[in-house]
Structures are given as C-alpha cells and as structure tokens.
C-alpha cells in the first residue's frame, strides 16, 4: 500500500448517530488534525446533524446522507435491479470519491456497508467480515466489544476509545468542542430574559429511555430545595417531544409550592441546538441524565451533575472533562441493557434521592465548599464520582471512599493493561496507579489471586509453540468459568493477526503486573481505613460498586 504523507491525507470520518455522539467525536477530529496536520478532514453525518457538524472548526468538509430518504428512493424504483441502481445513484457522491483513510465509528450494519462503498486506501472501524454476517474491527475494539458482556469491568470512556482510531498516543484535548458565537450567547440571553436568579441551574428532564430517566417528582423536589435554600433559578431545557415531562414536573412542583412554577424558565422545545448550547453556557450547573444535552453542556464547559441509572454507566459515557459529578445507581442488575424491558418499575431510578442530588448540586455550586453526602447517605447502591483527566483521557474517581470490590479491582486491571494495548506509547506506571487509589481502603480479595494465577498460566501457553487451535483450547480451558477472564480470552482467540496476538500476550503480562502492584499496595498499608473495614483478602460485598 502506498504510504501517503501524514500531512496530505484525505480523511473521512463516518458518524451517523445522534448529536450527542457527534459531540463525543470532536476530540477524535482534533486528534486527527494533530496527527495529520494539513490533511483534508471530512465527516459523513446523518442529514439532521449537518448544522452541528458545520460548527466544528476542525472539519474541512461536511457530507451528509439521509438513510430514510435512501430507503424511500429505493422503494420507488422498479425491481431489485432498479432499486440497486437508484441506491448507487444516490450514493454516487460518496462512491465517486477516494479517501486515503476512512474511519467508521458506528457499529450498525448500514454504516459498515456505507463505509465499504467508499473507495479508500485504508479503513478503520467496524466493517463487514468475509462471512457477510459478523462485523469485524480492530483487536482493541474487539476487546471492548467482548467486555460489553461484563460491563461492570469497563473503565473506558467512549470519547477516549474513539480517539484511538486516530492512532495518536496521548489525550488530544481537555474536552468536547462546540464553539459559541457572540450571536448564540446573545440569543441565549434573550431566551433567559433579564431577571435571571443566580445560581442558575438547568434541568434536562427527558432521556431516550424510561430506565435512564430520573422521576419528574424527584426533579421537582430537587428544584424546590435549590430554589428555597440556595435561591437558585431553574431552567428547563429539552426537546419538544419532552414537553409532557415538563408539565408533570411543574405539576409536582406546584404541589410542593404553588408559586414556584411561575419562577421556572421553561425553554423546553423552544431552542435550536445552537440556542441550547448558548443557554447551557449561561448555566452555573446542569442536572441531567445520560443525554445529548449533557454532552453539549460538557462541550461548553458547564458544570454537570449527571444522574446515571438503568443502562447508563458513567465509566462508558459519563460527562467528559474534569470536575463533573455523577451519581451512579448500581444494583445487582446494573448496568442493564436498554432492550431489557422486563424490569417492571425501573426501581434503580428512585435510588438516587432528591436529598443526595441536592447535596451534590450544592457542592458543585459552592466550588466544593459544602459537605458531600456521607457513605451512609449513599448506601450500597449509589456511588458518587467526580470526573478527572489523566494523560489517556477521562476517569471517574469516587468522592466517598469505600472498600474496592473484586470487580472494581479487576476493572482497574483491565483499564491499565487495556490502555497500553490501545495506545502502545502509554506505559504502565505504579505511582500513577497508586495515586488513583488515594482514599480507598486497601484490600486484595482472594478472587484476584485466582485471576493472577490463571493469567500467568495463559501467558505461558501463549509463549509455547502450539498450533492455533491447540492454543485456543488451552486458553479457554485455563480461563474456565472465570467470567472476568472471558473478554480477554475471547479477544485473543479471535485475533487472526499474529502481531496483535503478540500484543494481546503483552497485555496479559501487563494485567499480571498491575495485579502484583495492587497486592503490594494492599500489604503496604494499614487495614481498616476510612470505613473501618478490617478484614484482609476477603471478598467485598457483591453488588457494591465504586472504583477508579
């Protein structure tokens, strides 16, 4: 393959998802411009995201496609041949181009097929495998896909994963990007009106799915506390389809204080994306669930209190940047899958109480000068995290110290070893690891000893010269019923490329190394720390979740 000079590359990024996903792509776009200075950077978005993309300064060209329109056009045509001819004609603007590099960021089959249609020197991201069924991608992305079966072990934010496609070796930015114009800020001021109470707190009530939604009556109780105790102004933001939620919220607020609804600024359904960005920039705080609005607030540097329930897991899609707070509901079944509709009452939404949210909000509004909730307030099923940045990307650190459970520590092992697998320049560092554990009660649950033994054995198997099939069988046998090992074993077994297989072998060594540091850390500190937990090498309570 002809090597194109880095600075002259013609690059296309395919991002066909929603505007929140586009915003989470902005650090990748920045990274590509750093990695390939002077390159022509284009993006392919769904047509309804054109305006958001147009605001990104890193882009030289915006291409858009309307998949629904493509379908309609194909349906109008005659027979299979006619339909295909129509599709080919509609996609001619892509198939007649040639890019040096095409990066597909979506895991849907239509996106993978669109990516395959565009002539390219090099492709990255999900694509259709030779069996025409399975999507294949880079081995590091395979590792993440395999980890999705054990989501509690994931400590990789989507933003940082997307950046990996640029093959840059460091964190390219401090946050998401959505530049604001003076005009936008002026419009926001007009929408908010002249008599704004400070601090000004925005509420994003709606969410894509009920399981991610915080109950409107909880929002109402939170609003009442902030309005009375902190003299805060409340602004409702959101899409037109969420208006019924605003009505429910105002109804509950009225029941608490009949005069309160008249003091709420209701902008729900009244803002374009650009105007919403301007309004968010004016806020002192946004309280939200896992939404596109949350990512937009992060992009305009507004502090966020994020309430994560159901399938929403902050370690995957939490607010990007430093200093945001997240209240994460964590039950036996968390994080669940969005399609799991069997949960009858979505009880985890109610675990985060208005009192908890109020004290977290107050802590953010006061710049950290007020009291945080105690561990006892949080209970075993809610964790409070603060976002922070390191050289790889974002991490979510617990603000209320507790004992790290075996899954927490295993997740940490995956995070550290996985990072050096994804970005080879990232080096394991004992001091950084220990710094990240500050405030935690030490402990090394016995499950980790078993994990370490199995990993060492797997390392040896990989070093022996066996046939591929024999190696796979022995790895699977060694992993046995240890579900926490399945993600890495599956990734090794599916890696066709010997170079990557070798890298995965190195990842196993890194996992063993991290485990040994954790064991040493545990033994070097007195036990029975902040929470008075004294027993050594005992499994932590199952279902309790926190972690670095």
């Amino acid at each position: 393959m002809k090597r194109i000079a880095d600075e002259n590359k013609n690059i296309l990024v395919i991002q066909l998802a929603r505007f929140g996903d586009f915003l989470q792509t902005t650090p990748l776009l920045a990274a590509l411009k750093i990695r390939h200075p002077g390159s022509h950077l284009a993006v392919l978005v769904n047509s309804d995201q054109e305006a958001v993309a147009a605001n990104n300064p890193h882009l030289d060209e915006i291409l858009s496609v309307n998949l629904a329109e493509l379908k309609r056009s194909a349906e109008k045509s005659l027979g299979l041949g006619g339909k295909i001819a129509a599709l080919r004609e509609k996609l001619g603007f892509l198939t007649r181009r040639r890019f040096d590099l095409v990066i597909n960021l979506n895991t849907s089959r239509p996106a993978a097929l669109l990516s395959a249609l565009i002539p390219a020197g090099e492709r990255r991201g999900p694509r259709l495998g030779p069996d025409r069924q399975r999507l294949i991608t880079a081995p590091w992305a395979d590792l993440i896909i395999n980890l999705m079966t054990r989501r509690r072990l994931i400590r990789f934010n989507l933003v940082d994963l997307l950046v990996c496609y640029s093959e840059i070796e460091f964190r390219p930015t401090d946050g998401l990007l959505y530049p604001l114009s003076l005009r936008t800020l002026g419009q926001a001021g007009f929408l908010l009106g002249p008599d704004v109470h400070r601090p000004l707190v925005g509420f994003q009530l709606g969410s894509r799915h009920l399981t991610r939604q915080w109950p409107p009556e909880h929002f109402a109780a939170l609003a009442e506390r902030l309005m009375v105790e902190d003299r805060a102004g409340i602004v409702l933001v959101g899409a037109p389809r969420e208006k019924p939620l605003a009505e429910t919220f105002l109804h509950h607020l009225s029941a608490i204080d009949p005069s309160a609804p008249s003091r709420v600024i209701n902008l729900m359904g009244r803002t374009s994306i650009d105007e919403l960005a301007g309004v968010l920039a004016e806020l002192d705080l946004l309280v939200t669930t896992d939404t596109g609005t949350m990512h937009l607030a992060a992009a305009v540097d507004t502090p966020i209190l994020a309430l994560f329930t159901g399938p929403a897991f902050c370690h995957e899609t939490g607010p990007y940047g430093a200093g945001h707070l997240i209240l994460q509901a964590m039950t036996e079944c968390s994080p669940c899958l969005e399609k799991d509709a069997e949960c009858p009452d979505h009880f985890c939404r109610r675990l985060i109480t208005p009192d908890l949210a109020a004290s977290a909000a107050r802590w953010l509004l006061s710049g950290g000068r007020t009291e945080l909730p105690e561990a006892a307030d949080l209970g075993h099923k809610v964790s409070l995290f603060i976002s922070d940045l390191d050289e790889f990307g974002v991490v979510y650190r617990p603000l209320v110290s507790n004992r790290l459970s075996a899954p927490d520590l295993t997740a940490l092992v995956y995070r550290e070893a996985g990072r050096s697998f994804m970005r080879p320049a990232y080096r394991l560092e004992r001091e950084r690891l220990i710094r990240g554990l500050k405030g935690h009660d030490p402990g090394y649950p016995s499950e980790l000893e078993d994990l370490s033994k199995a990993l060492k054995k797997m390392e040896r198997i990989l070093l022996e010269k066996n046939s591929g099939g024999e190696t796979r069988d022995r790895l699977l046998k060694t992993a046995g019923l240890n579900h926490d090992l399945q993600p890495v074993v599956k990734t090794i077994c599916s890696a066709a490329d010997k170079v990557y297989a070798k890298s995965l072998g190195a990842m196993l060594s890194d996992m063993v190394q991290v485990l040994s540091w954790l064991e040493a850390w545990s033994e070097s500190r007195p036990h029975g720390g902040a929470n008075g937990s004294a027993s050594f090498k005992t499994p932590a309570r199952s279902g309790q979740m926190s972690g670095p």
């Binding site: 005659l78 027979g79 006619g82 097929l113 249609l117 030779p130």
Partner: protein, 231 residues
C-alpha cells in the same frame, strides 16, 4: 378488421367471459399509433414509446424464445408470465413454445388493440390473462418475463406486481429465489440504469460469502439492511 377482433373476442368469451366483457368495453390507449414495420407487419407506438421493432416485430419476438431466461425456463418447466402484451407478438411467440403462458396486461384497451391487429384464435387456449397479483398463487412455477417497453409504459403497475411477488417470499428466501430464477438478470433489460448490475453474480457472491465485498454486493446488502431496519 371487425372480423378479426370479433373472432378473437368470441374465443376469449368462451375462456374468460369477464375479461372479454371488459375488453369489449375498453377504449384503446391514448396516443396509440399503429404504423407498418419494414416487414409490413403492424407495429405500435404509445406516448412516444415503441412497443415493437420497427423493422420486424415477429423476428424480434422470436429472439425472446432464444434468450437464456426463456430456454432455462423451458428446461425447468417454469411458466412464463409476460408483463405487457403490446400488440401480442411476444405472447404469440411464447404460446408457440409453451403449453401455458400467463399474460399480465394492465390496460384492457391494449388487449382490444392487439385483438384488432393479430390473430389470437389458435393461441388463446394457451394464454391466461392475469388481472391481480394474487392470481400468481395458482402458478407457483411462474416466471415473470417483462416486456421492457410495456414496463416503461406501466412502471407503477409493474412495481406493484414485482413487489407482490417479492412480498410473497420471506426475506430470507429472497436470495435463493433469485438464485433459482433462470436468467433473471435479464429482468433488468430496458429499465435499469446506464450501467446494468450483474445481479446474478452479486447474489452468487453473497451466497459464497467469501472474498472481498464488491460494490454491487455491498449495495445489495445495504438495500437489504435499509429495508429490514427501516432506517
């Protein structure tokens, strides 16, 4: 000419009285123009579309019999279902080679015109005129044979028929259906884009499921995904 039309119609009356009544009542298509071909046989133009060869419409119809699609259909015992009658040259040619020929003609006026110019009396016992796609249920071995100029004339109706045909088959069977269809790539002749797609080759590639994805194969898969997901 009255005699020829009446003779044809009387024969049809015995076989399909309902259709015969509709043909009798029908008006010939607007802007229909009958002109003699170089061979002396009548030829037809409707709305500027020539439905038959201006040189020799009989010879043109006979080339259909030699086509890959029709020879394979004969070999596999399939029943040709001709979409578009025109003046009837193709239907008569097929009736000379097949025991049964299905004819789909959306406009009864076209049948009237055809009956007025060509002799169908010998062929009619072998011809079945279909009026609704559901009639295909009776003929599971039917093979749709489009008459390309007629397709251009009745695009909407043709889509309706092909959609109905495809809808009758589960999506999973679509590829198999296409694979089993003899010479089905010829379905595209006359109404495809300037660059005809080798669908047969593409579907074979989909079935093989190996090697790099070709553009056409990708388009087929994308079309399938768009239809399936509704996106």
């Amino acid at each position: 000419m009255v005699d020829l039309f009446e003779r044809n119609l009387n024969n049809l009356l015995e076989l399909d009285p309902e259709l015969a009544a509709r043909v009798r009542m029908a008006s010939v298509p607007d802007q229909a123009l009958i002109l003699p071909a170089r061979s002396g046989r009548p030829t037809l133009t409707v709305k500027g579309i020539s439905l038959h060869s201006r040189f020799d419409p009989v010879a043109e119809a006979e080339t259909l019999l030699k086509s890959h699609m029709i020879t394979e259909a004969g070999g596999k015992g399939l029943v040709p279902a001709l979409f578009g009658l025109g003046l009837g040259y193709q239907a008569l040619a097929l009736a000379g080679s097949f025991e049964l020929v299905l004819v789909i003609e959306p406009d009864p006026g076209m049948v009237k015109l055809a009956f007025s110019h060509l002799d169908f009396t010998q062929a009619l016992p072998r011809l079945r005129f279909l009026t609704a796609p559901s009639a295909f249920e009776q003929y599971p071995a039917a093979l749709l044979v489009p008459h390309p100029p007629s397709v251009r004339l009745h695009r909407t109706a043709f889509r309706l028929w092909t959609d109905q045909l495809e809808a009758r088959r589960p999506a999973a069977e679509l590829n198999k259906f296409l694979m089993d269809l003899p010479g089905w790539e010829e379905l595209l002749v006359g109404f495809d884009s300037a660059q005809p797609v080798d669908l047969l080759g593409l579907v074979r590639a989909v079935h093989r499921g190996t090697g790099p994805l070709s553009e056409g194969e990708t388009l087929i898969l994308l079309l399938h995904e768009l239809t399936k997901t509704g996106r």
